[in-house]
């Protein structure tokens, strides 16, 4: 298995304002992206990979001089890997509102000359897809071989099939849902309250105060992390293991290994993630609901989709459960669309979509082999 090697992010500035779903506009903005592989002469072998909550444009490869800088989907994307960069031209884009280089709340608001902070406009999955489409325009790609995404990335892939039906031939949506359930929104809300009530948040304008609401970010990440793992996976990994030899009979110190793990994840996250971005991205998750404009009728929502679909879910994923993927499959079957659906038996919960599970990766490999055969995306 080869890596795409050292990669360098690129950026593109858009002077044309982006009209947002909320009615607001993003006056001008920059998108940071990476590409792997070569765009063929027919320009028809491009695959867009959409990122989820805490990831970025850095899908595969490493950044020069940085240890452990492998992209977040490096196990899937590379030469000879299931999404084979010797055949496909793979694009990762950092969405606006994020905190990895594309225009976000930490950047200067041209209207005030100060960082956007809490004034960064609310962005939706649809807004991101529109921004991605503009980047493709700039790259001279009129039609994608496929859009691939997991979780929130899967929502973007689905949205692509609705907003730009003829600009993609395949939609591969993994561990995703047609909208968030009340329980899911509830988890997001707990995370947001943790951030907003952190005294260092300063109503979202903490940059000016030279502080970061790390406590809120930690708790937000902790609760998120619980929902990404299955009960069984957590039990297998931590069980009731104590941190020390004996219970310390403390209400505040770390007693159990699971606490240690969650605090570690929270600490790590609070070092690199932006609090306003966390609010924006969880809100984008909450708002996604393509059936809403059709009176809740998902079948009607997918009536205009024309690409081929592959849906994948994982049996122990309770945050984006198989039942939610089956709703999407049903809507597509009702519309007589080309759709396949695999329900992978994996113990890891929602996290499974990022892991190197043999059945999952073999299936994705088969999907991309078919896509390559159809589009003539042979070795370029």
């Amino acid at each position: 298995m080869n890596s795409v090697g050292t990669v360098t992010p690129q950026s593109h500035h858009f002077a044309e304002p982006l009209a947002l779903q909320s009615g607001a506009t993003l006056r001008d903005y920059t998108l940071v992206y990476e590409t792997y592989g070569t765009l063929n002469a027919a320009r028809d072998n491009a695959v867009l990979v959409c990122h989820a909550l805490n990831a970025s444009h850095h899908v595969a490869g490493v950044h020069a001089g940085q240890d452990k800088s492998e992209g977040w989907w490096d196990n899937l994307v590379g030469p000879g890997k299931p999404l084979d960069t010797s055949r496909f031209f793979v694009i990762g884009v950092n969405n606006p509102g994020s905190c990895f280089g594309s225009t976000g709340p930490m950047h200067t608001n041209p209207a005030t000359g100060r960082p956007y902070g809490a004034d960064f406009p609310v962005v939706t999955v649809e807004d991101w897809v529109d921004a991605q489409a503009r980047l493709l325009d700039a790259l001279g790609i009129t039609q994608l071989a496929a859009v691939l995404g997991g979780s929130l990335g899967g929502m973007q892939a689905l949205s692509w099939s609705l907003r730009y039906p003829t600009r993609l031939r395949h939609c591969i949506a993994v561990a995703t849902a047609p909208n968030l359930s009340a329980q899911n929104i509830a988890f997001n809300e707990v995370a947001r309250r943790a951030i907003i009530t952190d005294p260092d948040f300063h109503g979202g304008h903490f940059y000016a105060h030279g502080v970061v609401p790390k406590r809120g970010l930690r708790v937000a990440r902790m609760i998120g992390h619980i929902t990404y793992l299955s009960d069984d996976a957590m039990e297998a990994k931590f069980g009731r293991e104590l941190k020390g030899e004996q219970p310390g009979y403390s209400t505040q110190d770390i007693e159990f290994e699971i606490e240690s793990y969650l605090r570690y994840q929270g600490d790590k996250f609070s070092e690199y993630f932006d609090a306003n971005t966390y609010l924006l991205i969880t809100r984008a998750l909450d708002y996604f609901d393509p059936a809403h404009a059709f009176g809740g009728d998902l079948t009607a929502a997918f009536a205009d989709a024309v690409c081929k679909f592959q849906l994948i879910s994982f049996t122990t994923d309770w945050r984006f459960s198989p039942a939610r993927s089956r709703e999407i499959v049903k809507a597509l079957v009702d519309n007589q669309r080309e759709v396949s659906y695999a329900e992978i038996e994996a113990p890891h919960g929602h996290d499974a979509f990022l892991l190197d599970d043999a059945r999952y990766h073999k299936l994705l490999r088969a999907c991309f082999d078919n896509i390559a055969r159809e589009s003539g995306a042979q070795h370029v």
């Binding site: 089956r326 396949s340 695999a342 329900e343 299936l363």
Partner: protein, 194 residues
């Protein structure tokens, strides 16, 4: 449905250009055949990971579902043909699946091992359960939850108000229309809601 001749006999029952749902589609061989030779479209339904992968590798649309959970994903009369080949005998709720097949498809086609084939009868008469090409298992490891006969199915179809459009047996890759309950190891029925 690994036998090409058996497959061809069943494919001939499917009108060209049909929208097909193949319940328990295995590796997707028949669906690929129907797509390539009869311009059919549709989906296979499978539970086994290996078969889901095989279908994907063939470029056949496949939906991974447990048929025991029912066919709520599919609307009434939404397919021209629903196939249930060599599948029925593996299901606990055979009768419900038969009704579901008739609900979802304008035409249903089922095939299953005919327990009343003369070779099976002889084996049972000798005091042992049959182990044959159509039923290649011992009594203690068979995945077949239901064993029935060609004649039994006729009774069930009548009970459930299904109108049999065509029925025959298959033996050694040939259709058997005379005494199928005795002469064929596989039973095939094509039916619609009465």
């Amino acid at each position: 449905m690994s036998d090409r001749k058996d497959m061809e006999l069943i494919a001939e029952l499917v009108p060209a250009g049909s929208r097909v749902l193949d319940l328990g589609c295995g590796s997707g061989e028949l669906l690929a055949h129907l797509r390539d030779t009869r311009q059919c479209s549709g989906y296979g339904v499978e539970i086994a990971d290996a078969n889901v992968l095989a279908c994907t590798q063939r470029g056949v649309n496949v939906i991974q579902l447990n048929l025991e959970d029912g066919l709520s994903m599919f609307e009434d009369q939404s397919f021209d043909v629903v196939l249930q080949l060599d599948t029925m005998q593996h299901l606990r709720n055979t009768e419900r699946m038969l009704r579901e097949t008739a609900r979802v498809g304008r035409i249903g086609i089922v095939s299953f091992p005919n327990f009343a084939h003369w070779a099976n009868r002889l084996r049972v008469a000798s005091g042992r359960m049959p182990v044959t090409k159509a039923m290649p298992y011992e009594w203690y490891n068979t995945p077949n939850l239901r064993v029935g006969t060609y004649a039994d199915f006729e009774v069930l179809a009548r009970k459930d108000g299904l109108q049999v459009l065509d029925a025959f047996g298959i033996q050694n890759g040939r259709a058997v229309r005379g005494w199928p309950n005795l002469m064929a190891s596989v039973a095939v029925f094509k039916f619609q809601r009465g």
